[in-house]
């Protein structure tokens, strides 16, 4: 166990490599209760069935994020970023419109554990006159079930999950407890996140773990899985000094928002979209066996061109991988670079992200 974001968290159970490979092959259960789930709702109250209530709350949240929240369909989740006035990333977050239109005028939002207090303070500060923020991190546990067998395992108790596409959520009863289940995750695999009342967390976790296809997974494998999937860790691969364009997250800024140009840092971000950023996040494949971890400097010849922000060994690939920022003109896949690891140069290559293809379930056809 290690301290992480104010919580005691398991780094590993059986071992990072074994847990990593198990998740890619079967299903892994992660306790991610350190994260920051919360509910936002209009101070003026929900307006069941009224589309304009969704529009109203979406417009408020859009003051802080560059994604289109207004056009979310019921039950749709979207990755976005909280921005400062220069377009720097304060956090990444998932914003979900409730599947039940009776709850129009509310949103389910999950922010990162390490920065949840400051995120929530920002939301209160900027929108507190108009929105109520109900934090759900103490009242609820958040668990992630990830891997190719996740659907089959969960569907034994909650058949509704089979109807969810990637980035869709629904409210269901699981072992008699109300639960919010989202089809998404942080591993590159198909899978789910479950917001579960705290008093039901142990019984639900035990039920899931009683399936022989499921093993508990620690923080170590969570990190190696997300790195292979090319997913950012806030505080390492992005922070307030990086914009979504630099971080490779320009896709979180939908066209509607680009044309409205009404989000924090819009001038800087739109300029980068037009002209390209000075530096950008890339995938890096060290050609030897030495892992390149956070802080390792990137060179071509004598020129320092950037640094690694996350790196380690990729159990599914059998070699080291890393992500980092490099001056944009050197960011093309295939570019040969050197990494300075403990004072020695190690050859590496820029590669496309992700390192392994995502296994998300998209555009499920309706069953007859």
């Amino acid at each position: 166990m290690v301290p992480f974001a104010g919580y005691d968290m398991p780094v590993q159970f059986e071992g990072v490599k074994a847990e990593h490979l198990w998740t890619r092959d079967k299903a892994g259960l992660f306790d991610v209760s350190h994260m920051g789930p919360c509910f936002l709702s209009l101070k003026t109250g929900l307006r069941p069935g009224d589309e304009t209530a969704h529009r109203d709350i979406a417009q408020l949240v859009e003051r802080l994020v560059p994604s289109d929240i207004q056009n979310l369909k019921p039950g749709q989740a979207r990755l976005s970023v909280l921005l400062n006035d220069q377009g720097g990333i304060l956090d990444d977050l998932i914003i979900t419109r409730p599947s039940n239109t009776q709850k129009n005028g509310s949103l389910y939002v999950v922010v990162n554990g390490a920065v949840k207090e400051q995120d929530w303070a920002l939301l209160e500060d900027k929108l507190g006159d108009l929105l109520t923020l109900e934090r759900a991190d103490q009242s609820h546990a958040l668990m992630a079930l990830q891997g190719p067998k996740a659907e089959q395992v969960l569907a034994k108790a909650v058949p509704e999950v089979q109807d969810l596409d990637f980035m869709q959520a629904c409210e269901v009863s699981f072992l008699g407890h109300n639960m919010l289940i989202s089809r998404l995750g942080y591993t590159g695999e198909d899978g789910f996140e479950l917001l579960c009342p705290a008093e039901a967390a142990v019984i639900c976790a035990e039920w899931i773990l009683s399936d022989e296809r499921v093993q508990p997974i620690g923080l170590g494998a969570r990190d190696s899985l997300r790195l292979e999937a090319g997913l950012c860790l806030y505080g390492q691969d992005m922070d307030a000094s990086r914009t979504p364009v630099e971080a490779g997250l320009a896709w979180t800024i939908q066209k509607s928002r680009r044309s409205r140009a009404d989000f924090p840092g819009a001038p800087q971000i739109l300029n980068q979209l037009e002209n390209g950023p000075a530096a950008r996040r890339v995938g890096i494949k060290p050609l030897g066996r030495a892992p390149a971890r956070e802080g390792v400097q990137i060179f071509i010849g004598d020129k320092a061109l950037g640094a690694v922000t996350s790196g380690g060994f990729a159990p599914s690939l059998g070699h080291p991988i890393a992500m980092g920022y490099i001056a944009s003109e050197y960011g093309e896949p295939g570019t040969q670079i050197d990494l300075d690891i403990r004072g020695r140069r190690h050859a590496a290559e820029i590669v496309a992200l992700p390192f392994i293809p995502a296994q998300y379930k998209r555009k499920r056809k309706t069953k007859a």
Partner: protein, 121 residues
């Protein structure tokens, strides 16, 4: 064989000392994926960073248990770092030092003391 509180083992063979990390350390590190051994001829004082062992999880320093000069490194670890997990106190040795003062090892723990030390962690 003697042990340090930093989980290195040291085995005296004549004038030289074979050095590696303990089974306890190898298990705690998890799957070792890379070892950066010291350079031949390098001289270390007790407690100096001598080598680096990288697991899937993290990079960890290996410290010199005594003063000495590196006279051999385990070349096999370059292609088979998993030897550190498979046989930490045998085939997974890191390097061989020519001890500056063989009596230095007397201050280190014997196996019983080391096991007690680990039990207290």
């Amino acid at each position: 064989m003697k042990f340090t509180e930093d989980h290195e083992w040291i085995k005296i063979e004549g004038e030289t000392a074979l050095i590696g990390i303990t089974a306890y350390a190898a298990k705690a590190l998890g799957d070792v994926v890379f070892v950066e051994p010291p350079e031949l001829g390098a001289e270390f004082s007790k407690g100096d960073d001598m080598a680096v062992v990288e697991s899937v999880k993290a990079a960890s320093d290996v410290y010199a248990p005594i003063d000495g000069e590196v006279v051999a490194v385990n070349e096999r670890l370059a292609d088979a770092p998993e030897l550190v997990n498979q046989d930490p106190e045998g085939e997974g040795w890191f390097c061989k030092l020519k001890a500056a003062n063989l009596e230095d090892v007397n201050g280190l723990m014997d196996r019983d003391s080391y096991i007690k030390f680990c039990d207290g962690l």
